[in-house]
Symmetry: C2
DNA sequence: AACGAATATTTCGACCATCGAAATAGTAAA
DNA sequence: TTTACTATTTCGATGGTCGAAATATTCGTT
């Protein structure tokens, strides 16, 4: 008799997944002397760098939902630890461009590569149709979360 | 031509989902004057109460990865806000049993019900086989996360 | 050019969540 | 009853975050 997958079960599994990935990030940060906020900041800065436009402190503050002053603290910590440097923009000297050091990139890789490999192994036996189903599930769940949040916001 | 769902896409979608649900929890907590930790504590206490065995501060500390003293602070906040009370156990008076007030239960419902309904609507058009596929995906992803964390731990 | 408004970032002072160590209260075992 | 152990709280310190003010730079208008 095949398993009956209720909505409640899916919600439970989603919650477990977020709890576990939260815990992973927590442990990783602890191992590298980085707070949750610092990890998030590194991720955002790294993503932006990959896109080719370097982050500025204020855009980072927006992305992290942090005040400007708290963002300065985050950047102080990361700079002091040697993970990035601040360059004033050549075109607009009010702005600061954030550049990651290779060391931080290595840390990011050390964070994501093992997780990515583990995921790939876990998903190895998913067929193409199944992957499309999962993608549809994830996208609709993201949209549902955004929608509920929008209702909360006034 | 059907979409090609790569591992990278799935990782990206997972990350977006955790970011969005994080943000939802953040906004909800803000609206109710509760920190992230308080929300997590309420969820743990509520889950335990549903199972029939009331939480104690030390088990809560374990569940939240918080020091004993920080847990005391959390409980002080929640008690001061009228969300729970502390009863010393009748059998072992060193222990404290945490009981939620209906008010907190209402807040929990206010948190989870709209999200649950939104999810149900989003998943309405998933067939039984597809739901089983999704459940398999989620379970294997959880296991993969736990596995990577385990490698980091020792 | 030059002045005032606007923008980007940092500094400052305060608040409070969290921590580790010590204190308090209770139980168990000898 | 004395000693060791467990559960929780209190205390002092650290540090992340905030809002407001300070600093530096650019833009728009005249």
């Amino acid at each position: 008799m095949p398993e009956d997958v209720t909505d409640e079960l899916l919600v439970l599994l989603l919650r477990q997944l977020t709890v576990e990935s939260d815990r992973f990030a927590e442990m990783f940060g602890e191992a590298h002397g980085l707070h949750r906020t610092d990890l998030n900041a590194l991720a955002v800065i790294m993503d932006a760098a990959r896109m080719g436009d370097p982050m500025s402190p204020s855009r980072l503050a927006d992305a992290l939902h942090l005040s400007a002053s708290a963002t300065t603290s985050v950047l102080d910590r990361l700079e002091r630890a040697g993970h990035l440097n601040r360059d004033r923009s050549a075109t607009d000297r009010r702005k600061v461009e954030l550049r990651m050091h290779d060391q931080a990139r290595r840390i990011g890789a050390e964070f994501f590569l093992p997780l990515g490999e583990s995921f790939s192994a876990a998903w190895r036996d998913l067929g193409e149709d199944e992957r499309r189903t999962v993608a549809r599930f994830l996208r609709s769940s993201i949209a549902a979360t955004v929608e509920v949040r929008g209702r909360l916001a006034p």
